[in-house]
Amino acid sequence: MALTGSEATVFAVLAPFAAALVAPALTRLMGANAAWPLALVPAGIFLFFAGLVPDVAAGARYTPTLEWVPSYGVTLSFYIDGLSTLFALLISGIGTFIILYAGGYLKGHPHQGRFLSFLFMFMGAMLGLVLGNDLITLFIFWELTSITSFLLIGFDHLRAASRRAAIQALVVTGGGGLSLLAGFLVIMSVTGEASMSAVLASGDVLREHALYPLILLLVLGGAFTKSAQFPFHFWLPNAMEAPTPVSAFLHSATMVKAGVYLLMRMHPVLGDTVLWTTILPLFGGATLIVGTLLAVRQTDLKLMLAYTTVASLGLLVMLTGTSWEKAIEGAALYLLAHSLFKGALFMVAGTIDHEAGTRDVTRLGGLRKAMPITFAAACLAALSMSGLPPFVGFIAKEYLYAGIWGEGGVPLTLTAVAVIGNALMLVIAAAVAIKPFLGPKVDTPKHAHEGPLLLYAGPVVLSLTGLAAALLAHDTGVYFISPVVSSILGNQVAVDVHLVPGYIGAALILSVVTVVLGIVLFLKIDALRDAMARLLAAIGWGPDKGFDQAIAGIVAFSGWLTRRLQGGRMDVYMTMTFLVTAAALLVPLTLTGNWPDTLEMPGFRFYEWGVLAIALSGLFAVLVARTRLTAIVSLGIQGFAVALVFMLFGAPDLSFTQFMVETLSVVILALVMTRLNLQPRDHRPMLPRLFHGAIALAIGVGLAGLLIRITQMPFDRSLSDFFEQYSRTIAHGRNIVNVILVDFRGFDTFGEIAVVMLAGLCVLALIRVRPTKDRAAALDHAAGDEALQKSGEARL
């Protein structure tokens, strides 16, 4: 694998993981300043991908591949095209500033190194996700983003809210991931391809397959959860529990876009079907509206931004879901714009929080003097977010309006949704970027002043980039937007991007409407907020609450179920086990029709009948014994009879052993029972008695029937013939049974004596080792017994 060119992608993906390993040590060494050298890693990655841009823009596609799990056909392969390159640039580029920002934001924090480490791991996972070509590899990185974001969201782990948000994100996105895995596996089995590039080349195979609806739903399950589409949107705002660098990185620019990325990526093979153009706009639109409305309701800067992120993701999904070329151009532009302005705004919000000590917008104001640079960056980003020229946000909005409007019909609804959403977006932008800085100075918990370079470098660069991207609209179009759109559509297109619309069309009118609406709403923001609060209170339930209820429900249900299944009573366990056993005997015997139909009368001699009768009367004696002591003594009868049976039917060794063992069993039983002080009677109520009797009878009947059936079949005695043949001639023993035991099947005996030895050791361990505690109480119980016996021994 070469160190340069597309082949080096693997290093680019793995580099952050390496950085993750180094970060803690470096931070311990250099403190917050470690951010500078560490930021070189993403910066280098950015430069690497930037170097690929010209070729990619020219239509080049790379699939650098490394062997990984050849026997399962999994490779470590990457797919570099316009879409993945743009994402990689955003991840590494924004990532560079996030690392710097984190250095400043968590300066002096005892776990800063660990935090940076997590961030790097996340960055690597994200790069692997967007670049992944092999579907399994892609999925692994997909899950890795969930895992690392779990750690990042829960970073402030002593707070219950953080813990809740972390596990919520893990469960929702992890659960979606499982759906995606299933989807990928079905895709792999349908297409017979393991890599994204090959699947993308498969044309209509997926769309025309009977399993297409399933595949689509499974993939959407992954994408919608990851990209926080309604009704899975709730985890994202909760994830704002994470430190701000995390929010800025994961929950604006990168991870949440993974779902959008996947939809865009698979659009060529999954998109443009009725199902696609129905589901995606529906959910995307709903998410857009819900997100913006909920954003308005917030007063926390980060939460406002978070909800607008939800809304933006909805917008992107909606646009991708239309499958219209123009709309997708808008989506591509909006993707770029959003990453830039949202990343910047989150960092601004974090800086305000860091410097002023609060993020509550109602408690902020007049910070422009104290934090001029931050204010400037905020303004630039907010303008982009508001869709005002000359920012890339404006271009994006123009293109998307043009994209939706141009098609007529149903789009009217979509257009309305987009306009309302964008207007509300403007409201939020104004509220976040202008409200804290303008107006009279409000007292804040901390004395606010401008943050260090580490903190403002990011917002400034990102917002300026947003401006630059718009000013250099043509180049943006050539190098970024066209390749992306080509990837999404699956064929090479050239998108001409202009800052100044070359026409006075519907799009511009819609923009104006949006802006006007936005300003009106901003002026009414307090009323709007109250209205939303009342509305939500009236509804009183949301998926967020539903999540808690679901988890609590599952936990409570599992508790209930487990107590039913595992009640702790041995007799119930036994009964259940034998119930299953009875079924295991009777059902197959009946289904396969293998009950015996005849029973030949044997020519037993009278004493043979007698011995069998003794065996049965021994069983009877045990059953009817009213006390356990009687039962124990009665036990000897049947064992004795069994030994006689063995003797009568040509098994002297067995008989010998049975006599010995049976007697010794009784002896040990007696030795043990000597020390037990039992209540005499055995009370088993009638109903269980009948039930147990029925089960026991069923097992007896089943085994008897099976055995009769088997012994009626012809028998292959070849093994024993062999033993008879060679017992004396080769093994030098006349007692064939013993020769089997020590020679032919000596291995059995080997194991058997191991059992005997272990049993001895077990008993020793049982008797000799005494528990450490609770002993006195237990001994008390048996004490009277023991004492009496000791006095008894003395007398003997």
Partner: protein
């Protein structure tokens, strides 16, 4: 062989060609563990020497199993018949990739446990047999994995069972005795069912050698009572494997012994049941597997879900882990229900993963107790601050058991879901995925309570209240080496799964295309 005074053609009874010394690797695991166990017991009063003897012998065991696996991968299935009697008359030891892999994994776990036991088992525990029990447990486990004779399999089952009894009661705490009563009785019922089925199988086919059974059962078909016997086998091994609804013994007992013992149990015992199911139903009675596929699938799904739900219902970590063991068994059974080569490969891979990760998790639970003073999720807290390194270890194990990448649990899950989807078993695939999610929730709950939360239940938000005084020995190498070893393997299998993929594939294809197995026993004449 002495000269016989009776004219007999030895070649009709015995193999005449010399045995390659390398084939002795087949019995080496048994000989090593038996001699080592006996040696430990003979010197049982010297409690300081015992760990050393045990570690030396178990290292030998690991080496022998590794050598065996290498030989199997090199030469294919190999057979040795004890006493040199021709199969099916003598007891054949026949080992394929499946048996060798599981034996190797188990021996690694045993070695880890032997090391962990240095700190966890006091001198009374050593004196009353921890190391002999452990080594002879390995005799049983390895014997079960390697034998090619069904009755001999029963014997090794009993060896491992009685060893497990000894380990379970070591210490004689009240809960241990209570758990042991349930564990022992129910397991004895299971092995008795196994023995009944074997006796009946002998009555039908007149043979005990597995390869011979495979041939004769294919000739006999399922028309006769063989099907019922197969169901009995399924029940017996399902009990051993702790499958729903006959798994009462596991949750009743696994949380009671010393943690290192629970760790060994969690790793090994149920897997032997799974192994037996694989061997019997994939190799010996494949027709019965097909006939029972739906039942097995149902059992698998129920086991997975009741297992993981059981885990969610627990407060005690050890009990929680016990239910996760059960849940994993469900996934393994799923592979058997699907029955294709990839599915069986998934089961084998899963078994290896489960052996490693469950053992490591129980050991980690021991550390949690050592650091936090409790096994209860209500009482634990603050472990993340107490030992970030350990927290990282636990987190990785938790992700591994949940089947998340890049850890060992991921690949078998993918294999199984893949095989289920390809085979049209959507419900199985869905169950495996849902189980994975629920497992993530269960482990996530452990993590947020025991590690992230600042202290015991009721700790104020944002506070770090737990006063953590690590128990003595919590920093010793005897605790960290074994956990590190197992975690390393868990990561290695996740990051570099190719070797395990190949081995699982080899093991699975021996099961589905048994010709190599049969030829190894009976020579080239088998068709």
């Amino acid at each position: 062989m002495a000269a016989s005074n009776y004219n007999v053609d030895l070649s009709l009874a015995m193999r005449m060609d010399p045995v390659a010394p390398g084939d002795w690797l087949l019995v080496a695991p048994l000989v090593i563990t038996v001699l080592g166990g006996a040696l430990c017991l003979m010197t049982r009063k010297n409690t300081d020497a015992q760990p050393k003897v045990a570690i030396i012998f178990l290292s030998l065991l690991v080496a022998a199993c590794a050598g065996l696996l290498a030989r199997v991968l090199d030469k294919g299935v190999i057979t040795m018949v004890a006493g040199n009697w021709l199969p099916p008359f003598g007891i054949a030891f026949t080992v394929d990739a499946l048996g060798a892999t599981l034996a190797l994994t188990s021996s690694v776990v045993a070695l880890a446990a032997a090391v962990y036991g240095i700190g966890d088992v006091d001198s009374s525990g050593r004196r009353y047999g921890f190391y002999p029990f452990l080594m002879l447990l390995m005799t049983g486990v390895c014997g079960a994995f390697l034998t090619g004779d069904i009755f001999n399999l029963y014997v090794w089952f009993e060896v491992l069972l009685i060893s497990s009894f000894g380990l379970l009661v070591l210490g004689n705490e009240r809960a241990q005795l209570d758990g042991a009563v349930k564990y022992a009785l129910l397991n004895i019922i299971a092995t008795t069912l196994f023995l009944i089925a074997t006796g009946l199988l002998y009555g039908i086919l007149g043979t005990l050698n597995m390869a011979d059974i495979a041939i004769k059962a294919r000739e006999a078909g399922l028309q006769g009572p063989l099907m019922t016997v197969a169901v009995l086998y399924f029940l017996a091994f399902a009990m051993k494997a702790a499958a729903f609804p006959v798994n009462f013994w596991l949750p009743a007992s696994y949380h009671t012994p010393r943690i290192v013992i629970a760790a060994v149990f969690a790793g090994l015992l149920t897997k032997v049941g799974v192994y037996a199911l694989l061997r019997i139903f994939a190799l010996l009675l494949p027709d019965a597997r097909v006939a029972l596929a739906d039942v097995i699938a149902l059992v698998a799904i129920a086991t997975m879900l009741t297992g993981v739900l059981g885990a969610l219902a627990q407060t005690d970590i050890r009990r929680l882990l016990g239910y996760l063991v059960i849940s994993g068994i469900g996934s393994m059974l799923a592979g058997l229900a699907i029955g294709t080569t990839p599915a069986l490969a998934g089961t084998i891979f899963y078994a290896v993963h489960s052996i490693l990760v469950m053992t490591a998790l129980y050991m980690a639970a021991g550390v949690m107790r050592g650091l936090g003073g409790s096994y209860s999720l209500r009482e634990l807290g603050g472990l993340y601050r107490a030992s970030p390194a350990f927290a990282a270890v636990f987190l990785m194990l938790g992700f591994a058991v949940s089947g998340l990448p890049p850890f060992s649990g991921f690949w078998p899950k993918v294999l199984l879901v893949d095989a289920a989807l390809v085979g049209g078993h959507g419900w199985i695939a869905a169950s495996i995925l849902v189980t994975g999610l629920l497992t993530t929730i269960a482990m996530g709950r452990v993590w947020i309570y025991a590690f992230w939360r600042g202290g015991a239940e009721g700790t104020a938000d944002g506070q770090l209240t737990s006063v953590l005084v690590p128990a003595p020995g919590m920093t010793s190498a005897s605790i960290w080496l074994p956990i590190g070893l197992l975690l390393g393997l868990v990561i290695l299998l996740g990051v570099q799964p190719e070797f395990m993929m190949q081995v699982s594939g080899r093991g699975a294809s021996t099961l589905t295309e048994p010709l190599g197995y049969l030829r190894s026993v009976f020579g080239g004449a088998v068709q």
